[in-house]
């Protein structure tokens, strides 16, 4: 049986003390240990941002790529080797800002992988500008008079784009978060876990106490996770009460299930490169 320490990377995280991302890393390590997935079979992919440094801090294969591009790299890695457990991680700027086009289409595709977004509602690494999930009228470094745009609803977006497992966790409750991640990794299809992961340095509005006063768990209210319309409705609940937990889960054939090149069950990365069939292809030219 694997242990959390098996997933501890060589490098100590350099996040600010008190950053919500510590709890996300910890919950992910716990989820992987509880599922007993060998570190060398895990591929973590991220983009750029404070939270996207996560692959360097976990003992697993990592790909720390460009800003906003974690999902295409993760998709290619997963389609290239279906023996790997692929987990994409990043922040709200990375996933819902610069990379939102990929997010929309990855939800549609239902590739069997997990996407964890550490949503702190601000751009941390670039020192505190407004992000796609910054609430309206919040003053940030780039919006001194308050944001004019309304915040994006990541859970709602994931739902309408076709993600088959959509959940929200909170860094203030890492055990609950670990369970949501476990469910996401076990889920056969594209699983999205949006995590309230407060930025203690640049977001003075959406703080731990702010969330603690508001969050509640859907499972405590016997939420029906098979009810799509209810899930969408719940995704818009914001203000005095903010739901956490699994919003929606559905089984749908994965991209891998329907892709002809993967029917043999042998991952592409393990197939021989030499081709015996070139003469037959050549006939097409005649």
């Amino acid at each position: 049986m694997a242990h959390v320490k098996d997933y501890i990377g060589k490098v100590k995280p350099d996040w600010c003390p008190g950053c919500g991302d510590f709890a996300v890393l910890n919950a992910l390590q716990r989820a992987l240990a509880e599922l007993d997935i060998a570190p060398h079979t895990v591929q973590v992919v991220s983009g750029i941002g404070c939270s996207s440094n996560l692959p360097g801090f976990i003992h697993a294969y990592g790909f720390h790529g460009l800003h906003g591009r974690s999902l295409p790299v993760a998709s290619g890695a997963r389609l290239g080797n279906t023996d790997l457990t692929v987990i994409a991680t990043g922040g709200d700027g990375d996933g819902y800002g610069i990379g939102v086009g990929h997010f929309v289409h990855t939800c549609r595709r239902n590739i069997n992988m997990t996407y964890i977004v550490m949503d702190n509602q601000v751009y941390g690494l670039t020192t505190g500008q407004a992000s796609p999930t910054t609430e309206k009228d919040i003053r940030t470094k780039s919006t001194p008079e308050g944001t004019i745009e309304i915040a994006l609803n990541p859970v709602g977006l994931a739902l309408v784009c076709g993600a088959t497992y959509v959940a929200r966790g909170f860094s203030g409750d890492h055990l609950h978060l670990a369970q949501l991640m476990k469910g996401a990794i076990e889920h056969k299809g594209f699983a999205v876990v949006d995590v309230f992961s407060p930025c203690v340095t640049y977001n003075k509005h959406n703080t731990y106490p702010w969330f603690r006063e508001r969050v509640y768990k859907l499972e405590d209210e016997k939420h029906d996770t098979s009810d799509f319309r209810l899930a969408v409705e719940k995704s818009f609940e914001w203000g005095a009460r903010i739901p956490l937990g699994l919003f929606y889960k559905v089984e749908r054939p994965t991209y891998e299930d329907e892709e002809p090149a993967l029917r043999s069950g042998i991952p592409l990365a393990r197939q021989p490169l030499e081709r015996p069939d070139l003469a037959a292809i050549m006939e097409d030219f005649i």
């Binding site: 294969y61 790299v73 990365a269 490169l273 050549m282």
Partner: protein
């Protein structure tokens, strides 16, 4: 007189939607199966219905390098084509048309040109079979054996059932009989073919074929002319060959997906044109920084911006060279022929894996979309070189180990004991990011030098540049990529008088060709030593600023003396190269000459793009 008895040209002109490509392909394949060498270039517009399209087909009993520049037989599917090209048809040639659509009169054509009008409705009873009927008449007048084309009609309509096949064969035969009765045999004839069934393809299929031969298992792309036909060709073979073809939401995704697949050990490729490549550029550097093998095809078209979506140009050289920020190792190849489209795609995969870097393959519409016969390619002993792969580690593995060659042994995700992170931020040998708190100038320098060291070795593994033709020629034509064959044709015509109409006698000297197929790493020492041997030089390039000339000067300090440029979107015609080369040889100008040539597409003086391009047809755009 017309062209020699060793070759002839047929143009099929009409509007988009008239079925020119399929009629043209039937004729082309019938010829390639009957022992002829064939070259076809389809000049078309960014419109799905209407506009003006003309397929230029040249067949010969010898290798034909280009679409040529003369017109012997014209199939005019609309009156516009007749007006544009009728007068260009060579004496002894013929014009084929459907008399139900329009009437042709002798003033539409040149001297001694036959007008072969077919009453299609009366003959075959269905306008849909117009193209089949016109092909029947064409084959009759050309005196070519109809067996091959009848067989192709059967193949083409197989899916539509026996009735459609029979109807088309009848239409073909009746039209041939009609032509036999009502017209004279054409006097421009091509000698008998050699009986070989030659394969025929374009650059895109040949690159797809090369990719399959090299073991490519992943192709991700976003549609963009002229790279789309690579996507289409590959997807046709996907199920049979176990290739995963992924159409993506954009080119950023396409390259990043290919990088993801490359990272886990799959031979992966993506393809696009200049605009899509602009979106990919950040990820080119990502592949190089993470030392991930990936192959990128860039089929150039007319720029800038969305430019000329369906036209050819070699205008992206500096975009390819300048892609992505910072200094990083990569290779850029520019295949010159179909054979090289195949061979250099295989080479690209091997170089990408051996040096763990991106390899860019630059073609253009002219090479990518042409149809040309080729001699057999090597499919029995395809070289596959992956570089060193670690299959088991003990935890001491360093993914980015500093080595003499700069290449570090590679472990693929899934391998036990070799866990690492590949980062686009600067990192140390272990893959640990040094950009945040541990920035270390000494490590940065070592890692930069390690990566760039690959180039010193990579450059030695590439095919050297060469002077084609007589080594001591009076004039050297200089270029890169797809202009190779038009330069070869000009060279042969001038040196041997191979094409009588163009003659070699009055050339004023001999010609050879220096056409680069490796753009980067630039083979500076070899190119310099070749150029130092040359007497007069003239670049032949399909762009405005003379991009390869600039690169050569940048890397060798040597300047090409004279220049021939074209940026109208149409390919160079052999005559345009010959005339300018001859002028340079005869006048030996003291000052550098920069000449520009433009194709004459016979556009009527009263042409207006505002008019509806098709007769009420719905118009949509192709990008």
């Amino acid at each position: 007189m017309a062209q020699t008895a060793t070759e002839l040209t047929v143009w099929i002109g009409g509007a988009a939607g008239d079925g020119i490509a399929s009629a043209g392909e039937s004729f082309v394949k019938a010829c390639s199966r009957s022992g002829y060498h064939v070259f076809a270039y389809n000049s078309y517009q960014s419109v799905i219905r209407g506009g003006h399209v003309c397929m230029h087909i040249r067949i010969g009993t010898h290798k034909v390098y280009t679409q040529g520049d003369e017109l012997d037989y014209l199939i005019a599917l609309n009156a516009d084509s007749l007006r544009r090209y009728g007068k260009r048809v060579m004496p002894g040639g013929a014009i084929f048309y459907n008399t139900d659509k329009f009437q042709a009169t002798p003033e539409h054509a040149g001297r001694d040109v036959q007008l072969v009008g077919l009453p299609v409705m009366e003959l075959v009873g269905n306008q849909l079979m117009q193209n089949t009927a016109l092909l029947g008449a064409l084959m009759q007048v050309l005196g070519l054996d109809a067996a091959a084309i009848r067989r192709l009609i059967q193949e083409r309509f197989q899916k539509k059932g026996e009735a459609v096949i029979t109807a088309n064969l009848e239409a073909f035969d009746k039209s041939a009989e009609y032509a036999k009765a009502k017209s004279r045999p054409g006097t421009i004839r091509v000698g008998a073919g050699d009986g070989q069934r030659r394969p025929i393809a374009g650059g895109n299929p040949m690159m797809g074929f090369g990719a399959l031969a090299a073991g490519c298992r992943f192709y991700s792309a976003y549609p963009m002319t002229p790279a789309s036909s690579l996507l289409h060709w590959l997807v046709k073979f996907a199920a049979k060959t176990g290739l995963l073809v992924k159409q993506c939401e954009d080119e950023i995704s396409a390259l990043n997906m290919a990088i993801g697949a490359g990272h886990v050990g799959v031979r992966a490729m993506t393809g696009t044109s200049g605009g899509g490549f602009a979106l990919m550029t950040e990820a080119v550097g990502e592949a190089s920084m993470t030392e991930t093998p990936v192959v990128i095809v860039e089929a150039q078209r007319g720029g800038p911006s969305t430019g000329l979506p369906t036209k050819t140009e070699q205008g992206d050289l500096f975009q390819l060279l300048g892609a992505s920020q910072g200094d990083y190792p990569r290779a850029i190849f520019a295949p010159r022929t179909l054979q090289e489209c195949y061979d250099m795609t295989i080479l690209a995969f091997n170089i990408a894996e051996r040096y763990q870097c991106p390899v860019l393959l630059a073609t253009d519409l002219y090479l990518a979309e042409r149809l040309e016969t080729f001699e057999g390619v090597n499919i029995t002993q395809v070289p596959i070189e992956r570089g060193e792969l670690v299959t088991q580690g003990d935890g001491s593995y360093r993914r980015f180990l500093i080595t003499k060659t700069g290449v570090s042994p590679r472990a693929l995700p899934g391998t036990p004991g070799t866990v690492y992170t590949a980062a686009t931020d600067e990192h140390d040998e272990d893959g640990i990011v040094i950009s945040d708190v541990f920035t270390n100038p000494a490590i940065r320098v070592k890692m930069m030098e390690k990566r760039m060291r690959k180039m010193e070795f990579l450059v030695k593994d590439l095919p050297p540049p060469e002077l084609t033709g007589p080594q001591d020629a009076d004039l050297t034509l200089v270029g890169w990529g797809s202009t190779y064959q038009v330069m070869l044709e000009a060279m042969e015509a001038m040196n041997h008088g191979g094409l009588s109409a163009k003659g070699g006698s009055a050339s004023g000297g001999t010609v050879n060709v220096l056409c680069l197929r490796v753009v980067w790493p630039f083979q500076a020492a070899e190119v310099r030593s070749l150029l130092e041997r040359c007497k007069l030089t003239m670049s032949v390039e399909a762009n405005f600023t003379g991009q390869i000339v600039k690169l050569i000067r940048m890397e060798t300090g040597l300047s090409i003396r004279h220049h021939l440029r074209k940026y109208d979107g149409e390919p160079f015609e052999p005559r345009q190269v010959i005339e300018q080369a001859r002028k340079i040889l005869q006048t030996k100008p003291r000052e550098s000459v920069v000449a520009t040539v433009v194709s004459d597409e016979g556009i009527p003086p009263d042409f207006s793009p505002i008019e509806s391009p098709a007769n009420g047809a719905e118009v949509s755009r192709q990008h």
